[in-house]
Amino acid sequence: MIITKVIDSFTRTIKWIAMVCLLFMVLATAVGVIFRLFSSPIVGNDEIVAIFQVFLIMFSLAFAQAEDRHVKIGIIVDKMPMRIQYVIDVIGYLITSIFSFIVAYIFMKATYYNMTQFAEVTLLLEFPHHLLKFVTALGFLLWGVEAINQIIKLFLRLKQVKQNEKEAS
């Protein structure tokens, strides 16, 4: 299905951004320590790491969802019939997407507010908050979209199972 392919490619792209940010975090901390060793600390090094972390967090949420890695307790549901498990999973994905969209909406509004009425920047590097808030909104939006993607994939799988059962009978 085209929509799932499009969402998958979005998630793959942000996964790579998150991975690059992780590497930059390592590099920034290590370089910061080395520079401090030679008595010339990098101003705002902490902020650089924290900024990369915002990108890493927001872009790894959807990736973890795509791989279905968010921590769950399957102690009861794992023992239920497959169809009931599918229904419960769909409910879980729906709730995930609703929550993610709510957070994305809140951060979109915050971004707009920071851009138009109250500009805030980070303490040392003066990096604009609205950019970080926009990334947060985008991250949660993609998390929600990825949760919907999981629902579509679940239905496709179910359809396939039904088709296989039909062919077998």
């Binding site: 901390t29 972390q53 890695r69 968010h70 307790i73």
Partner: protein, 434 residues
Amino acid sequence: MSDEVVGATALIVMLVLMMLRIPIAISMVVPTVLGILYMENWTVLSAAVESIIFNRSFNYTLSTIPLFILMGEMLNVTGISSELYSTFRIWFGKLKGGLGIATIGASTLFSAASGSSLANTGTIGVMSSKEMLKHGYSKALTGGSIVAGGSLGILIPPSTVLIIYGMLTEQSIGKLLLAGIIPGIMLAIAFMLTIYVIVLIKPEMAPIVENRSSWKDKFVSLKNTIWILILFFIVIGGMFVGFFGPTEAAGVGAFFAIIIALVRKKLNWSSFIQTIVRTTRTSGFIYATVLCAFLFNYFLTISKVPMMVSSTLADSNLSPLITFLLIVLLYLFLGAIMDSIAAVVITIPFVMPIVLNMGHDLIWFGIIVVLLVEAALISPPYGMNILILNGVVPELDIWTIYKGALVFLIPILLIIAIIYMFPNLALYIPERMF
């Protein structure tokens, strides 16, 4: 409905959602969102969501988590774990239960680089199970030794669970990590003694393995531990002497781990990418859980439920020991049915005021919590270490591992009792931190 009733209802809703296999992060935020909307309004909710998620994400200390995960993952690809095992085998192989003792030894040292029990169990489990089963060790002892050794991963620094605990209780991450060293070593020795005693009582569980290593071989084998020890002294030693904080320690540790992998020629493009992918994925679910836990904690605070629980316990005139035992039972119960991170994040808001009321130190309590979580990791029905070992070594079935792991609960509970009686064992190193 009073705020306390709303809070209590939200707790029940959260537990129901968790049991319905809804992701833990989402199980925490659903009652949070509904509860805040019921008690307050949309404006309060959006302000809370914005400030908590933004301030916690844009937080330098939180970056300790992915950096330590990367350090452990990177060392995983260097093949150091198998060399550690062979070193401990050479040293302890001749003893009764020597291969089990070697498993604990290798796990202990590998824990000094990996902050995760699951990674520890998976990595050490594959090679040590092969050796132990090949030499006729019983499956129960093999499985039990591996999962017990694996559980050390969250006690010996670096530890993801301790970092999350530190964030939630606003305690010094550096002190928490250092506090795990002495209890970690004590527990490793207790595990080794447990194996020795088991084999003394039931020698058929672990036949003596022929070991002709000379003293020269023994000392030569120590070179295998050099990389891990260097990394440990840089990362943990650097924190102890105050040369850098936890985040810098984690960043430098991850950087050195990449250098070690390159120097040992174990890193190619594909393994490098896979390592980064695994770290990003693990970070994703940990971040989601932690951010949602902060939202949930905010909601619980405004519902005043933790204060209510704490004052009810204080009014009940229970002795501190009984209260402590109740907390122990709570963690053993929760840990047995849910993931370790989940058990920590949902209980801390309630337990923290109680612990503070009892006059205990939160750094000390962090070590107690991790020890309890370790016990849960090897207990049925949700002992994650057991499930992981069964996943990587399918010939060790779950029930056999459970049977073998049960006996290792004794040393864990014993160490908890010792740390309870002598809190300084946990606080000795952090109190001397520069």
